[in-house]
């Protein structure tokens, strides 16, 4: 069900752990759904110079987090905001359909971290969220739990 790439990133996740001097942190998901992703970014002159993650979740959640940190490292904020979950999926050589939400979670965690960066810089929270496309909970997975 998983590609070799997924297994590789799951067994040897890159950039796992806390980033001590992060200046942008975003967490999405919740324990009831069974996945939480926390992204730590270090941004200098609008460029993401370092990225790390912590994830609670299945293989796909861990693998997508790992790949997402690799992808965003070296990107400008603007480029990172353009990052689509599809790129993460492609990088992994595909994900089973029921696991696609994990890649959405990775994209959202990055957006949330970038919004946090702007908020820390003094931007109004609502404005930062809007600028970075942070939505309340875009996780259809979580919404399905409500009823």
């Amino acid at each position: 069900m998983y590609t070799e790439k997924v297994i590789d990133h799951f067994t040897n996740p890159r950039n796992v752990g806390e980033l001590e001097d992060a200046n942008a942190v975003g967490q999405v998901g919740n324990p009831v759904c069974g996945d939480i992703m926390k992204m730590y970014l270090k941004i200098e002159n609008d460029v993401i110079v370092d990225a790390k993650f912590k994830t609670f979740g299945c293989c796909a959640a861990i693998a997508t987090s790992s790949v997402a940190t690799i992808l965003v490292k070296g990107m400008t904020i603007e480029q990172a905001l353009q990052l689509k979950n599809k790129q993460v999926v492609d990088e992994l050589g595909g994900l089973p359909p029921q696991k696609l939400h994990c890649s959405v979670l990775a994209e959202e965690a990055i957006r949330k971290a970038l919004a946090d960066y702007y908020i820390r810089g003094g931007m109004d929270e609502e404005e930062a969220n809007k600028l970075c496309g942070v939505e309340e909970s875009a996780c259809d997975h979580c919404e399905a739990h409500e009823h």
Partner: protein
Amino acid sequence: MNEIKYFDHAATTPLSREVLDAMMPWLTDNFGNASSVYSIGRTARAAVDEARAQVAKAINAKEKEIYFTAGGSEGDNTLIKGVAMAKRAKGNHIITSKIEHPAVLETCKQLEKEGFEVTYLEVNGEGKISIDDLKAAIKPETVLITIMFANNEIGSIQPIAEIGAIAREHKILFHTDAVQAVGNVPVDVKAMNIDLLSMSAHKFYGPKGVGAMYIRTGVVVDKLIAGGHQEKGKRAGTENVAGIVGMGKAIELACENMAENSARITELRDYYLAQVEEKVPYIRINSGKEGFLPGTANVSFKYIEGESLLFMLDMKGICASSGSACTSGSLDPSHVLLAIGVPVEVAHGSLRISIGKSNTKEDIDFLVDTLVNVVEKLRAMSPLYEDFLNGKYII
């Protein structure tokens, strides 16, 4: 490739050598159709009948009360739908439990669409139904009680004899899905007042895709698979002679060695639970000991997710299973764990191991040592664990 350490005997068991040997002639030279009149047909018929006697003996039934199927799911479907259809004029109410196998639950859901009403009994924290709840659920329209003998995820054994007595007293048919029980714990259809029972050979070192139904003499069940006259017209289809012979041999062996295997396996399970409790912090034991299957242990490891746990164990050659949403193929974790009151977030981190006759104490030590490492590794990357350590998340 690592050596495989197999702890998933509730999922399936390896075919034992003796069973394979018993099956071989029926896969090769003795290929006749058991319905044919010539000699190789007649020997096949005799072999099927011998297996029928072996199965009957194992559960204290009569030979003519045993019907072969293609497995447990078919038995559950045939018996539940077959009773529902046969009894339709009398009533449309069925009583079952919330922790049944999908082969029963989904069958009941289908019947609900056909106009049947189904009561799903709650279970307590140990995964047992309450006899008072059962009595209270009985109505004049109740035609069937279907309660599993032993649960596949946590191993809880239901008060089958008590349920049977109540069903008999109210003249309601009683079916039990005994797929996890047969071969592991004593089953006596007469003493327990069981009217209908399903079982599956691959759970007791027999072949996959073969099972049997017990239908007490006099009980009318509509057939699910129509066609030829095989199995006294109750289940059409050319008999899987080799599979049936294998099932007969496997059940005989399982019953012969039951007490001995059960004692050994129970000891290993208790050792596993004690070791895990001692060596891994923040766990929840979801299964019990007294009144549970000997080999099944279900433990949740908090702050991590079950599918990633399974894959990490797989890297070390360990086979086990989980009730996490990711492994159940739905959004929610195991309905059984939720029914016994395990919080959703804790159910996501569950691990079921089911010990079999070839497992050793060394295997358990290897499993526990691996678990210590793997759980630590996954917790180290879990933001939930971090929050827990910082006092920001409590469960």
